[in-house]
């Protein structure tokens, strides 16, 4: 398991995204899977920084862990902001997604893209930490 720690600030979001790209590349994910993982990671990192740390005025880190097996790449974000389960919120449904732009609600799309883009996304609270877990299967035919 590799680990890298980023301060929970907006400046880190860009850096985390690029770090995730490197991990995806070294795991041999195809272009599409790499992009989807990067997008998912960006959405979750953004939520942690803006709503977990910045909004309540807290300081903390995002620790990015990754582990590879022959079958899968797993990336885990750990942070120490208040418990927040991204999956607890209702995702946009088919009806929401077919509404014209002018009637669209503006929230929920980030989590939707996260869940849609990775092979498995899960959340757990362990002690004082939120753990957001992204799993990508390797060798998918796309």
């Amino acid at each position: 398991m590799n680990s890298k720690t980023f301060p929970g600030t907006v400046e880190s979001i860009d850096l985390i995204r690029h770090y995730i790209s490197e991990i995806a590349q070294s795991a041999g994910l195809d272009k599409k899977s790499s992009y989807n993982l990067k997008l998912a990671a960006d959405e979750i990192a953004t939520n942690i920084v803006l709503y977990g740390y910045e909004e309540p005025g807290l300081e903390g880190n995002i620790e990015v862990l990754d582990e590879q097996t022959e079958e899968a790449l797993t990336v885990i974000f750990e942070d120490t902001s208040a418990p927040f389960d991204p999956l607890a919120r209702e995702l946009p449904d088919e009806e929401d997604l077919t509404k014209p732009l002018e009637e669209r609600q503006i929230g929920g799309l980030g989590i939707f893209l996260t869940v849609k883009g990775v092979d498995d996304f899960s959340y757990e609270r362990v002690g004082e930490k939120n753990r957001n877990i992204f799993k990508m299967l390797k060798g998918r035919v796309s």
Partner: protein
């Protein structure tokens, strides 16, 4: 951060005003703030067409989608949004979120 944006608004005598925004690099939640400011700037001119040149845009997060929704809500439902040469992952994102049929993807503008 690698993101740049510029815009211009031109008068087209027959079709009304055309606002063109050139997006380059990665559009995440931070750069989306700049994108939104640019939309607010061109919205003053009440363009009929909004042309987003995306050929050099390599990444777009949901914050970028929210600005697309915002632009329609700000400028009005009659606004036509054209995306010039968006890259495939961005088209996929628009498709998954149901936004693709609210915009027109083109190779160039005007066609």
């Amino acid at each position: 951060m690698s993101f740049s944006i510029k815009s211009d608004v031109k008068d087209a005598p027959e079709s009304g005003k055309v606002a063109t925004i050139y997006l380059e690099g990665e559009l995440d939640s931070l750069s989306a703030r700049l994108f939104q400011k640019e939309i607010e700037k061109v919205a003053i001119e009440s363009p009929k067409d909004l042309v987003l040149d995306m050929e050099k845009l390599t990444f777009m997060a949901s914050a970028g989608l929210r600005v697309l929704i915002f632009s329609k809500q700000k400028i009005g439902p009659s606004l036509n949004i054209f995306l010039v040469k968006p890259q495939q992952p961005i088209v996929d994102t628009l498709e998954h979120t149901g936004l693709l049929h609210s915009v027109t993807v083109v190779e160039k503008y005007p066609a």
